[in-house]
């Protein structure tokens, strides 16, 4: 069966510090991978998606970047965090062919102080 791992679960970082959130998927190959951010009481905003290794699409201009160094690994990064980067970050994957359900990780609560 497929599983998705996302870590850390919570993170408190000072303004100006770097960020690295990691997401890995097990039990499938060639997944579509996504990073979403969710502000408190709000819906999910798509940040990045990837259809393959080193293939990243950015949906909104921001202080963040994403990388996919391996087929089932998706990393969200920042060189210098802003207060506005605080939020709940979710990684997700979908199958390339057939089925369209997105499977989500458990999320990372990032607080920039």
């Amino acid at each position: 069966s497929q599983t998705i791992h996302q870590w850390p679960a919570t993170l408190v970082q000072p303004v100006g510090s770097p960020l690295s959130l990691e997401c890995t998927v097990e039990g499938t190959s060639n997944p579509n991978l996504y990073w979403y951010r969710q502000a408190a009481g709000r819906g999910l905003q798509l940040l990045f998606y990837s259809i393959g290794i080193d293939q990243i699409s950015s949906e909104v201009p921001q202080n963040l970047s994403a990388s996919r160094p391996q087929d089932r690994q998706f990393i969200l990064s920042s060189k210098k965090l802003l207060l506005s980067d605080s939020g709940f970050y979710l990684c997700a994957w979908t199958k390339i062919q057939g089925g369209a359900e997105a499977f989500f990780g458990q999320g990372t609560r990032l607080t920039v102080v």
Partner: protein, 113 residues
């Protein structure tokens, strides 16, 4: 632009009663829709999905209705249980292979004992 919205931010339902959560979408090209539920501090969980070639789809205690004429989606939960308490999101997408989803802000379902 594209957007997906919900009519009610909070819905309180007596345990055992039926719940109906509504959603409006604006992109006529969307052909795939999902309902998710999200408990506090966790990632969204799949409830049910429907493709645009269908008007209705039933699962266990849940039914999704799609009205493409007015671009409206609803989730019906039969015999609502305390475990149904969560924020429920609808999402729309186009089956272009990347399965990018646009999520609504969500409706909080509160089940009263």
């Amino acid at each position: 632009g594209e957007n997906v919205g919900l009519h009610l931010p909070t819905l309180s339902v007596q345990e055992g009663d039926n719940s109906i959560i509504n959603c409006a979408y604006s992109n006529s090209a969307s052909d795939y829709f999902i309902w998710y539920k999200q408990e506090s501090g966790k990632g969204p969980q799949f409830i049910i999905d429907i493709r645009s070639n269908m008007d209705k789809r039933q699962g266990q205690r849940v039914t999704v209705l799609l009205n493409k004429t007015v671009k409206h989606l609803s989730l019906q939960i039969a015999a609502t249980q305390p475990g149904d308490s969560a924020v429920h999101f609808c999402a729309e997408s186009q089956a272009s292979g990347t399965y990018k989803y646009i999520f609504g802000t969500g409706t909080r379902l509160k089940v009263l004992a």
